[in-house]
Amino acid sequence: MLEASGIDVVVARRPVLSGVGFSARPGDVTAIIGPNGSGKTTLLRALTGELAYRGSVRLNGMDVAATPPRRLAAIRAVLAQSTQVAFPFTAGEIVRLGLEAGSGPADDGLVLRLLAEVDLAGAAARPYHQLSGGEQARVQLARILAQARTPVTPHGPGWLFLDEPVASLDIAHQLMVMRIARGFADAGGGVVMVLHDLNLTAMVADRVLLLKSGAILAKGGVDEVLTNALLAEAFGCPIRVGTPPLRGPWVLPQSAGATLP
């Protein structure tokens, strides 16, 4: 269980988040959405203990601010928006860093299997710097998956925190990431991710947190949050949510001429 209450974050004397509180359950994919600058990434960084905050964040009952990094690393892995690697590590060595940080059984083949899972079979020995942006992003995802290799750990459910995990990926790999997130949650782990794509959100999320100007505008199930009125209010542009014949809602941006509902 992830429980956050009364989160305030101030950066350079400017309040970036104020009074954010919500909880996320293992088994769920929780999506954090909102316009640019609404505080999504800041919230994720506070939830993972990377950023100083006022308020309380508890992960599996542990106070995140007071728990040693090593113990946190054993139950949760964090994917940043972008990661620069300083030295000429290979893709496999990067994934291995995750393997060493996580807990639970691991064998030598896991690095290769995880690289194959993110569609990078055979790339283990390739220098990270020579990979494309999308490939680098997937290597980092494989590293996160190596760290959180057991959705249920001896210390409670495992957690994935993903900050815009599809930002540099093509559509097939975006769907791949969603499949991986869904699978991790279905196996008993918790997933919290910042997303920009509202349709991916509609497709994969169980719970949605909609931020605007550093505060929660709405939270709840997909049907409760992805509505014409709430999205238009959050993003400041006309948006229409429809329901396709198959499943789940879809979201269409309206042309500039359309008016807010």
Partner: protein
């Protein structure tokens, strides 16, 4: 799954390289013991040791001249190379080197300060401090510069290369300026000590000097392997290292202290020897990869061997006179530095 790979190619095998470097170190050590101004060779020593015992002159040359010189070369080379590797890991940049970013100049300032102002200490304290005073002062000088440099060059967990190099130059210049003032103020005896020391040479090697530096070099070298996992994670940035379970602040402090101790002690006993700290880790990374668990011990081995080798060159080219070893390392090291810089120009936007 189209996976026909046997074993795990993601893990490089560090052992053969380590073994090679141990052999190299042994070979260089033996060669160094067998060469010198006296003309005595290994065969002479061997004959003496296995035969009727060394005569007094040979004994003095082996035990009091060549062995301490070898030991000092290995210790100083290892200290400088490991110090460079630690700084590079800390700054996440292969161009960080104690000599280039001003840490060496800070150490020099500390050492000169101890030589010139050491006489002001109460006599009892001065005796107690003895051979450790100069190395310890050099360590404090290097530490101060490293801490300042980190504070100036790092913002929100990311280090700016340009800021690091420029701030290093500025801090180095300040340290050199203050050192100059002290030398100006020094009396004749102190001036002789400073000059002798600043020539950057292994010629002053003695067991006493080595004994003064080892309490700083040994702990630094022994601490380094414990920082390896954290430095690997730090290569992804401070935030990612934290999420990988690393206590980042502790790691950074330990790396700063270890590299300042090793640099300070090395500078204190051998003067300013540049470029070992940048060339050695770079060569290891080229051959064995950047994993600090292998990089740190291998840098120690290669740094020691290369410095002993450079010392043999310094003693050999203008024999029976000696070239300052700093000249030899600079002639080899500076081009390598330029080579790295040119190779990375595109990446750094310099």
């Amino acid at each position: 799954m189209p996976l026909a790979l046997s074993g795990d190619s993601s893990r490089r095998r560090p052992v053969p390289l380590t073994l090679l470097l141990i052999l190299l170190t042994a070979a260089v050590s033996v060669a160094s013991l067998g060469s010198g101004a006296s003309g005595l060779t290994l065969a002479d020593f061997a004959d003496g040791l296995w035969g009727q015992g060394l005569d007094q002159r040979s004994g003095v040359i082996l035990w009091d001249i060549r062995l301490p010189r070898l030991a000092m070369g290995l210790a100083v080379g290892a200290a400088l190379a490991v110090s460079g590797a630690l700084l590079q890991g800390l700054f996440r940049n292969p161009l960080a080197d104690p000599g280039i970013v001003g840490v060496g100049a800070g150490s020099s300032l500390g050492a000169v300060l101890a030589i010139v102002l050491g006489g002001l200490l109460p006599p009892g304290l001065a005796v107690w401090a003895g051979v450790h005073l100069v190395p310890f002062a050099a360590f404090l000088g290097g530490l101060s510069v490293t801490l300042l440099l980190y504070a100036v060059a790092t913002r929100a967990g990311q280090t700016s290369v340009a800021t690091m190099l420029l701030a290093g130059i500025a801090l180095g210049a300040i340290a050199a300026g203050v050192t100059g003032i002290l030398i100006y103020l020094a009396d004749d005896r102190q001036l002789r000590d400073v000059t002798f020391w600043s020539m950057g040479s292994l010629a002053g090697a003695s067991w006493e000097r080595i004994g003064g530096a080892l309490p700083l070099i040994l702990p630094a070298l022994l601490l380094a392997p414990f920082l390896a996992r954290g430095l690997n994670a730090l290569a992804l940035g401070e935030a990612q290292a934290l999420h990988l379970g690393v206590r980042v602040q502790l790691l950074k402090r330990a790396a700063v202290f270890a590299s300042a101790a090793a640099t300070g002690a090395a500078v204190a006993i051998a003067g300013g020897i540049g470029f070992v700290g940048i060339v050695v880790p770079h060569l290891i990374r080229l051959v064995g990869g950047p994993d600090h668990r292998a990089l740190l011990p291998q840098s120690a081995l290669l740094g020691g061997s290369l410095l002993v080798l450079a010392d043999m060159v310094a003693r050999g080219v203008v024999a029976p006179a000696e070239l300052p070893i700093g000249i030899v390392t600079a002639c080899i090291g500076a081009p390598v530095f330029l080579w790295i810089l040119l190779g990375r120009r595109g990446l750094m936007g310099l």
